[in-house]
């Protein structure tokens, strides 16, 4: 069940007694507008940190290496950029960059979210590459995968509305949420791919 703006605004404005059930978006969006807009999503803004994967520093990304988190090249080689509110990050055609939301979210156990790009940006060639699922209990800023599939460079400015998040009610009989697995950061992260023993076994050469 997707939650509409009025429900979300009330949840933030009137926090439940149980601290674990509190829902935060910082900076908090205009709750009055959210309440009255009738929207079923919350707009999120672009943050100030970006990550690029410099092409000059590694020959290729070996999926098998990435499957072993101790040897993940992408995470080691990520180049961090800080773009303050008054400056621009130019995303050239065919370029890919990791960005982060300005907002820090803290989801209670009963809430999950899906992040999608804004169609107005998409029509100009700026794509948020994946529809990222946000798990119940997530705490942190959301990493965004941005790609310019258009023909002209796009000047990104921290603070612009970049994407939207739809919140869903989560139905579960378990009250347990492992916040450790979903702690984000203020910077975009390449993240580690969970070790996949099945895939690693399948990739091995058959023994003679």
């Amino acid at each position: 069940m997707i939650l509409k703006g009025d429900v979300l605004a009330d949840w933030i404005k009137n926090p439940p007694d149980d601290p674990q059930e509190r829902f935060f978006i910082r900076p908090t969006p205009d709750l009055e507008h959210l309440h009255d807009s009738g929207a079923a999503s919350v707009d999120l803004r672009l943050g100030t940190w970006f990550v690029t994967l410099p092409r000059t520093r590694f020959t290729h990304l070996d999926v098998l290496d990435e499957l072993d988190p101790t040897d993940a090249d992408a995470a080691k080689l990520a180049k961090m950029h800080y773009i303050p509110f008054h400056k621009q990050f130019i995303l050239h055609p065919k370029d890919f960059v990791l960005a982060v939301t300005l907002e820090w979210l803290r989801l209670p156990n009963k809430l999950a979210g899906y992040v999608v790009g804004r169609s107005s940006w998409g029509r100009r060639g700026l794509i948020i590459a994946t529809a990222a699922g946000v798990h119940p209990g997530f705490t942190g800023c959301l990493t965004l995968e941005l790609s310019n599939v258009g023909e002209v460079p796009i000047a990104l400015v921290p603070g612009i509305t970049i994407c939207q998040i739809f919140f869903h009610h989560v139905d579960s009989r378990s009250a347990r949420t492992d916040r450790s697995a979903f702690l984000g950061s203020r910077k975009p992260g390449v993240g580690t791919i969970k070790r996949d023993d099945v895939a690693l076994r399948l990739a091995q050469l058959p023994k003679p």
Binding site: F24, R26, P27, T48, Y82, P84, G140, R179
Partner: protein
């Protein structure tokens, strides 16, 4: 004409380096502005060199080349500083709230640069005649992403305030006269001991008029001046950042290293006692047992009777006037928008804000509506000392650092987008 050839090569190399630096990703305008100022200095040098040739007067050539060499010597460290200020190891979220604080305290022309330095002790470059208004504050490289050390920037801003405001005010000559009078009074009290060290000085009246006599106590006066400046800077840091300044100070220096004290700094226990006295005067509650965390470093030994006597004079004079410095720091930092602990109502308001931020941190959530960097840092230190946010499998200090830095960014967002309400 060799000096000219060398000078031209040196200048070309320096200007090439400047051009490389100009292409850096600058996180804030002050770094670019400082670089432009330095560039202007060397554009003028280039013009001067262009006016000289084989037929020029050798003395003039030497003079121009020497001046260029001096400026290269002086400004190369600034280039290094500017380069390090762009490194993403720095927590850039600290910058804008500190810059706003610098404008509040030092006026709208103050331009702050923060860098990560390969030197343990934070330091400040200020008062360069060609870079007026620029304040270069270095933070130890391994701490440059740690917002909890940011209150120490308050002490460093104190040095800029001392140089730009205190030393140029009418208050300062009167202060120096009293410092001198205090030293002379102490010598008169201990006249026999002084005579033992300086048997040639016969009369007390000579202390102020005879060259040899004044030279005898001049080091004590110089040390007392420097010690007074250090006291003042501590009081500024404390006044700006409250209790968090004391925690950051301890973070940097506790436990006190063994070894001899620096004579131009007050020894540790005197410094800490005056910090506590200033805290009480400002309405700030120092940490319980704060004084017990520290100890003195070694004083000059009895074998060096001259130095021991002089440093006793310096210590005594600096201590005598330290209460005045507390009052003066407080009077200079009364601008609106700065945290205020002077009344019970203000203290209660501050405590409530800090508690609210702290409660958010414990829920692994950055705070909003904080109003001032000092409130965030005080809540940060409260969390660091009392109860760090615990998230399984995560280093608590890292989680706290993220929360503080995000809160600082939210503060900046709110400052630029004030709520209509």
């Amino acid at each position: 004409m060799q000096p000219l050839v060398f000078a031209r090569y040196r200048l070309t190399a320096f200007q090439e380096e400047l051009a490389v630096l100009e292409r850096a990703e600058f996180p804030y305008p002050a770094a670019e502005a400082a670089l432009r100022k330095i560039k202007d200095v060397f554009v003028k040098h280039a013009r001067m060199l262009d006016m000289l040739d084989q037929g020029s007067d050798l003395n003039t050539v030497n003079q121009v080349c020497q001046q260029q060499l001096t400026d290269l010597w002086d400004y190369l460290p600034f280039l290094g500083f500017i380069l390090r200020s762009t490194n993403v190891r720095n927590a850039f979220e600290i910058y804008t709230p500190l810059q706003r604080l610098a404008w509040n305290v030092l006026g709208p022309k103050a331009q702050l640069l923060l860098s990560s330095e390969w030197d343990y002790s934070p330091f400040v470059y200020t008062q360069d005649p060609l870079l007026p208004g620029f304040i270069f504050i270095g933070i130890p490289a391994h701490e440059s992403s740690n917002p909890l050390v940011a209150p120490l920037a308050g002490h460093e801003m104190g040095h800029a305030l001392w140089a730009d405001v205190v030393e140029t005010s009418l208050w300062h000559p009167a202060f120096l006269s009293r410092l001198k009078a205090s030293i002379l009074e102490k010598i008169n009290e201990r006249w026999d001991a002084f005579r033992t060290l300086h048997p040639d000085i016969q009369k007390r009246e000579d202390l102020e008029t005879e060259l040899f006599a004044t030279a005898a106590w001049a080091p004590a006066f110089a040390w007392a001046r420097r010690q007074s400046e250090e006291y003042f800077c501590d009081f500024v840091g404390l006044r700006l950042f409250g209790e968090s300044f004391l925690f950051a100070f301890a973070h940097l220096l506790f436990p006190v290293l063994e070894g001899r004290r620096a004579l131009h700094y007050p020894n540790m226990m005197r410094r800490v006692r005056f910090q506590v006295q200033a805290a009480r005067q400002f309405g700030i509650k120092p940490p319980i047992d704060y004084e017990l965390w520290f100890k003195d470093r070694e004083e000059p030994s009895d074998e060096d009777r001259h130095e021991k006597f002089l440093v006793e004079l310096a210590d005594s004079a600096a201590d005598q006037l330290a209460p005045d410095l507390i009052g003066h720091a407080n009077s200079l930092i009364k601008q609106s928008g700065l945290p205020d602990w002077s009344t019970e109502e203000a203290r209660m308001k501050h405590r409530a804000t800090v508690q609210r931020i702290y409660d958010d941190f414990l829920l692994a959530t950055p705070a909003e509506g904080t109003g001032h960097i000092a409130h965030i840092l005080n809540a940060g230190w409260k969390a660091a000392m009392d109860k760090v946010p615990q998230v399984p499998d995560h280093v608590p200090q890292q989680v706290l650092r993220e929360l503080i830095l995000k809160s600082l960014e939210v503060l900046e967002f709110e400052t630029k987008n004030p709520s209509p309400s």
